[in-house]
Symmetry: C2
Subunit: 133 residues, 2 copies
Amino acid sequence: MNKSKTRMTKQRKTILRVLRNTDTHPTADWIYERVKKEIPNISLGTIYRNLNVLAEMGEIMVLDFGSTYSRFDGNPENHYHFRCERCDRVFDIDIPLNRELNMKVNENTPFMAFGHRTEFYGLCPDCQKKNQT
Amino acid sequence: MNKSKTRMTKQRKTILRVLRNTDTHPTADWIYERVKKEIPNISLGTIYRNLNVLAEMGEIMVLDFGSTYSRFDGNPENHYHFRCERCDRVFDIDIPLNRELNMKVNENTPFMAFGHRTEFYGLCPDCQKKNQT
DNA sequence: CTATTTGCAAACGCTTTGCCTGATT
DNA sequence: AATCAGGCAAAGCGTTTGCAAATAG
């Protein structure tokens, strides 16, 4: 099938490093601005191309829950996310995946579930404080 | 705030009826084609405007999980969905919402979860059969 | 060397919006 | 009559892509 030998260009390396070193689930544009500090003449097209390549390689994860634009996660392991309804930021949720839920689907429906994506919504700690005023 | 008195135009009524009478979670374009059979000169802009209005009214639900375009659900009650990885169709999953999951987040993290959206992925019954070949 | 990747800019595709006319209450 | 909604077409906007030049292996 795909015999392409993935080259580790400095652009690709930088994008991956930036993504691994943040936990803010940034947008492509945020990554673009950030990488531009190191590689000033990099183009947005390169950011997108590499994000797609890295996702295919299984190095990162694409989150396209309820929003106009995608967010990217440097942690390719499946885990839960939380979106704050007030500030719209996305956080990692550190509770174990509920694998029984897949079993429930497999046992009670005709569908064959390999896994599931879950996003919680509500208020992040910061916005809970702000809402008290 | 919003003092607009929602008028029930024939366009809006038709769109809502079409959506209520399907369980395929269609795209805006699918709805457009469908409604056009009854109101031939309706415009795509009207479809989008009304889908947004109906969603605000709480009459329907917008699904923008992992895809370039949104899908719409005539059932505004929160429920689980299943996306087939092979044919990309979206189905309703008829198992009860796992509300304890929200509790787990509220008890074990600093986040305040009001709810969660979950999409399962795997193979639908049709595609399971096809995959046996 | 040569196939992959980049930068640039134009193209894409879904969705939104402005404007004016038409319909609803 | 007053205001909300529709039709049409253009604009928006995040993302993708074609192409020639650059570069990793």
